[in-house]
């Protein structure tokens, strides 16, 4: 048996509440607000209390999809990544770096935001980088 509580930060609003995800045998089964958090002091809102519920939802994306003959089909990671990189390269060569845009995300981590804007700026050489800060 494997029961653990993992301290993390909420994925919803900007408050940044801390809680433990209660994990039993690899499945998140509960959310436990962290009493010693300077932000939420052991409290949460309804969204926070139920944040574990969507993690294992059946509708989660599980495999890469690629549009073939107008339809999105499951493909291997290699195929999806090769296709993406090759098309980006092609478009950059044909239409210039500023013909490519990147939406980073207020939902992913700092590290992921950093690495995506780095790819846009250093890899593709464009500043077309934005996210939904205004929405």
């Amino acid at each position: 048996m494997d029961y653990r509580t993992v301290l993390t930060t909420c994925t919803y609003c900007g408050c940044g509440c801390n809680f433990f995800l209660e994990v039993l045998d690899g499945k998140a089964i509960g959310t436990i607000p962290c009493k010693t958090s300077p932000v939420n002091e052991g409290k949460l809102c309804i969204k926070g209390w139920n944040v574990h519920e969507f993690i294992h939802n059946e509708k989660r994306l599980k495999r890469p999809l690629l549009r073939k003959n107008g339809r999105l089909e499951e493909v291997s990671w290699d195929e999806a990544l090769d296709y993406t990189a090759a098309r980006l390269k092609e478009i950059k060569e044909k239409s210039g770096p500023d013909s490519i845009g990147f939406l980073t995300s207020a939902k992913v981590t700092n590290e992921e935001n950093y690495i995506l804007q780095k790819f846009a700026r250093a890899g593709v050489n464009t500043n077309n980088v934005d996210h939904c800060a205004r929405l």
Binding site: M1, T5, G30, I32, T36, S37, L44, W49
Partner: protein, 268 residues
């Protein structure tokens, strides 16, 4: 105190008497629940005192129910205070935990915590470590009771209106284990409204705390709106005591007068 707890738990784990010990741990600079399965993990054991005594208590019995449901054959240890002990006793009578599969390791609460909680019994029946404090003085219910009716009414209305319907009071409650919750029954409390209908939402919950509440106070600590829920449920508890001479979980094996339908006593 903590060293004797560690020794006791180590012994329980080493002898294989328990599969794991559900207690509190200091990790990542915080205090949280943890299932100890090896003796060497116990260096980071915490009793839930961060800045002040008992400020980092968690409803361990509630998590124990989750684990026990998945592993009904195993025996687990659990860290308890007086309130948790009352919770365990009540959960046994409600068949939510099997007493044969639980080894409670009991600690007492210091006087400051007993006073802050206005706790009637700030220690468990069986104490592994600690000195018993005196029962805390009951002040909060008396203070509200002292208000004239109209003031008392607006006091509660002003509190309930702040509710953001997080269900934290119920989510954190070790005694909330129903599969179907009245708070989520649309005919009683209409879903989707903020604040939830006043005073139905909180009255419904208070009604369901009759004979159930063990006065751990975790609901009030979890309330983002600062509603004095503990005072409300203490009042409910005091009515049970006055009318039925019943204090939830205080006497081993005693069932709630509202949970006796199937017993001889209930049929009377």
């Amino acid at each position: 105190m903590i060293d004797s707890i560690k020794d006791k738990v180590k012994e329980l784990l080493d002898t294989g008497e328990i599969k794991g010990f559900l207690g509190l741990v200091r990790k990542n600079g915080h205090i949280g629940p943890h299932l100890f399965q090896k003796g060497d993990e116990l260096v980071d054991l915490s009793l839930g005192d961060n800045k002040i005594a008992g400020d980092s208590r968690y409803p361990l019995n509630k998590y124990l129910m989750n684990i026990a449901k998945a592993y009904p054959e195993e025996t687990f240890g659990v860290l308890i205070r007086g309130c948790d002990d009352r919770g365990l006793q009540a959960l046994y009578t409600w068949n939510q935990l099997n007493p044969k599969k639980v080894v409670a390791v009991g600690i007492t609460c210091p006087q400051e915590l007993a006073d802050a909680c206005e706790c009637l019994k700030p220690f468990p029946e069986d104490i592994t470590a600690g000195e018993c404090a005196k029962a805390g003085e009951q002040k909060s219910v008396a203070a509200v009771d002292a208000l004239v009716l109209s003031e008392r009414f607006s006091y509660w209305m002003d509190e309930f209106v702040k509710c953001i319907k997080c269900y934290g009071c119920s989510n954190v409650c070790p005694m909330c284990f129903c599969n179907e919750c009245s708070l989520k029954c649309d005919d009683l409390v209409k879903s989707g409204e903020l604040p939830p209908e006043i005073p139905v939402f909180h009255h419904t919950r208070a009604m369901h705390m009759v004979g159930r509440c063990v006065d751990c106070g975790l609901c009030e600590e979890a309330c983002p709106s600062g509603i004095p829920l503990r005072t409300l449920y203490k009042k409910v508890g005091s009515i049970m005591e006055d009318k039925f001479d019943f204090k939830t979980g205080m006497i081993r094996g005693q069932r709630s007068p509202l949970n006796k339908i199937d017993s001889a006593e209930g049929k009377k």
